[in-house]
């Protein structure tokens, strides 16, 4: 009957998507060998934060404490899992996220340039994330989250 999402879920999804799109653009510049400006480096700093949130989300179940960040941990963990479709094992996931984080941190600091292949992997990860976030936005717009809903009448998920 009604979905249970709020307008802020939709705007949050769009905001995350815009950020990730800009990260992809910054990585495209890096991969092309363009020198990165302050704006791009800041974006790649945010990429590091996203990957840290995904790692924290992975570890949350080991020590499940509730904070205002818990939801973000879970969200970015989910986005990261979706962005690595061929990864099924925990160890591989953590290793991959750690590598991606190192590449993003290197680009963000501007001290050295990672290998092109590494940048490409990071770009693919964030493109997949962008696509996954777009799917989420579309779901929210399509009625699963029509914005003017409030659920006094609780419904099936």
């Amino acid at each position: 009957m009604h979905s249970e999402h709020r307008f802020s879920d939709l705007t949050e999804s769009l905001k995350n998507g815009f950020l990730v799109d800009d990260i992809v653009l910054a990585l495209a510049r890096a991969e092309k060998g363009e020198s990165l400006g302050e704006k791009e480096r800041r974006l790649l700093g945010k990429a590091v934060s996203i990957l840290e949130l995904a790692e924290a989300g992975y570890r949350w179940l080991d020590k499940p404490e509730l904070t205002t960040e818990t939801k973000s941990f879970a969200t970015f963990f989910g986005r990261a899992v979706n962005a690595l479709p061929s990864v099924y094992a925990s160890e591989v996931f953590l290793e991959r996220v750690s590598d991606l984080k190192a590449t993003a941190a290197q680009l963000s600091s501007g001290e050295s340039t990672p290998a092109r292949g590494k940048i490409q992997l990071l770009r693919t990860f964030f493109y997949n994330t962008a696509q996954s976030e777009l799917d989420r936005t579309e779901q929210l717009l399509a009625g699963e989250g029509s914005a003017d809903v409030l659920k006094w009448t609780v419904t099936n998920e």
């Binding site: 009957m1 009604h2 249970e4 709020r6 307008f7 802020s8 939709l10 705007t11 949050e12 769009l14 905001k15 998507g17 815009f18 799109d21 992809v24 653009l25 495209a28 510049r29 092309k32 992975y58 949350w60 179940l61 080991d62 020590k63 499940p64 404490e65 509730l66 904070t67 205002t68 818990t70 939801k71 941990f73 879970a74 969200t75 963990f77 989910g78 899992v81 990864v87 099924y88 094992a89 925990s90 996931f93 493109y127 962008a130 696509q131 777009l134 936005t137 579309e138 717009l141 029509s146 914005a147 003017d148 809903v149 409030l150 659920k151 006094w152 009448t153 609780v154 419904t155 099936n156």
Partner: protein, 468 residues
């Protein structure tokens, strides 16, 4: 790539046309008469954003022609911007039904004043639509967060700090007593504004053992399947379900608790009547706890803050019934529900009740004394078909507050409805429905009188200050 760039250019052009159509639509509807001035502010915002989206899209032509992104990346990027257009349609949808012909006019000025008293920098848009959906949510904060640091940020200057969009089902727009549930929704805004979660969530202890057992059980069960879900996916599923569920349930329960502090028993009465009609008592979801748990919290708070043993016998019987029902253990329909139910125990319900006190000042709180005096002084006026919008001696009367009118209305509905019905002309009170409609009419009239009285007092005070 050249052909794709041309397609991208076409995509940008058609999206600009869609954005232009939104701007045109604003021109068509902006001259309607709206019950709240915020409707026009929202329309101006939509118009401004629609124009800026055209510029935002224009700027993307440079990205498209720079040959940096793959066709798929460019498609996703452009599509994201285009998704802002359906958001504008949603905003137009909020305004639709908020004109004077559709929205419950008597309620709006009072509700607007009430929202101002709780959050002074707020505005409201009330719309009545043909759907079974009560809602009130702040959209200004969400939009400002979305557009921060973008070309669209200047549009947000057109918005107030908080813009509550209230939706009331069209077929129930006159059912004023049920509108008490809006206190729960105001609770959501206060929960965010006062950052209630920050102090409260870390105090809620989720059993590490239960969570791990749940994950282990799911993993073992999957191992027996022909195509088991990989461990990483299961971990992600459990994390999303558990974290999302407990956060969501705590937020909903906290909004109930804040609503009880704002509106007192009226929220409880409205909530149980509405929830009882439309939801199974133990039905829950990832975002909403079972009704039984919500009732349990509300009853606990009423017992804590109100002298239930001094209530009218009908009301005591009503609350005792709900007290018994809410004491029955809830069995979660899924393992995730069960974990959330075991986590949100009585201690956590008390924590939620206490934390709600940080969001509502004593001056904003409805109290036991007020409920008793409203039941004693206002409810009898309804029985004489007098709308209790003002009270006190002639010439020195004062306006009655929104929460008092609604609580008194509920008191009559639950305790003295038959007496009220008999007091009506036989034609009016011939059926239970027609008598209830009359009661709602009187409550709405009381709200209207209260608002007129308050406005008059304000005008007098301004005029006096002017003379001084």
């Amino acid at each position: 790539m050249d052909s794709y760039q041309r397609i991208a250019a076409l995509k940008i052009r058609t999206a600009q046309e869609r954005a232009h159509a939104v701007a045109e639509e604003v021109g068509r509807v902006e001259n309607k008469v709206y019950a709240s001035p915020a409707s026009k502010r929202l329309l101006q915002f939509v118009l401004d954003v629609a124009r800026r989206i055209q510029k935002l899209l224009e700027d993307e032509k440079a990205v498209a022609s720079a040959d940096l992104l793959t066709p798929a990346e460019l498609e996703t990027r452009l599509h994201r911007i285009i998704k802002l257009i359906p958001v504008l349609h949603l905003l137009l949808g909020f305004v639709d039904g908020s004109d004077v012909h559709h929205s419950p006019g008597q309620l709006i000025p009072t509700l607007r004043r009430y929202a101002h008293s709780i959050i002074p920098t707020s505005e409201i848009v009330v719309s009545s639509k043909p759907e079974l959906n009560y809602s009130i949510q702040d959209i200004a904060g969400a939009l400002k967060n979305l557009f921060f640091g973008t070309l669209l940020e200047p549009s947000c200057e057109l918005l107030p700090e908080f813009l509550f969009v209230v939706n009331i089902p069209a077929v129930e727009s006159e059912q004023i007593l049920i509108h008490g549930v809006l206190a729960h929704e105001l609770g959501h805004a206060l929960y965010d504004k006062c950052k209630v979660a920050e102090g409260m969530l870390p105090k809620i202890k989720l059993s590490e053992e239960l969570a791990k057992n749940l994950a282990k059980m799911m993993f073992e069960s999957q191992q027996r399947q022909p195509n088991p879900t990989p461990e990483l996916r299961l971990r992600e599923l459990v994390t999303q379900e558990v974290a999302g569920r407990i956060n969501g349930w705590v937020m909903e329960l906290s909004s109930d608790a804040i609503g009880i502090r704002l509106f007192g028993p009226a929220l409880f009465f409205a909530a149980v009547h509405l929830l009882l009609s439309f939801a199974h008592i133990d039905q829950s979801s990832k975002t909403h706890p079972p009704t039984r748990l919500r009732v349990k919290l509300m009853i606990r708070m009423l017992k804590q803050f109100y002298s239930l043993d001094e209530w009218h016998s009908e009301l005591q019987a009503f609350s005792n019934d709900w007290d018994s029902v809410s004491a029955v253990p809830i069995h979660g329909r899924t393992a995730f529900d069960q974990l959330a139910i075991e986590t949100i125990n009585d201690g956590v319900l008390d924590l939620i009740s206490d934390a709600s006190g940080t969001a509502v000042s004593p001056a904003q709180s409805y109290t036991s004394d007020r409920f008793n005096s409203d039941a004693a002084d206002l409810a009898p006026l309804f029985l004489s078909q007098i709308p209790p919008g003002e009270i006190g001696p002639y010439g020195r009367s004062t306006p009655v507050e929104l929460a008092s009118i609604i609580n008194a209305g509920w008191h009559v509905y639950l305790c003295d409805f038959e007496a009220f019905r008999k007091s009506l002309h036989p034609n009016v009170g011939s059926t239970r429905f027609s008598a209830a409609a009359k009661l709602h009419e009187l409550v709405l009239k009381a709200l209207e009188i209260s608002e007129i009285k308050t406005s008059w007092e304000e005008a007098r005070s301004v005029s006096k200050r002017g003379k001084d």
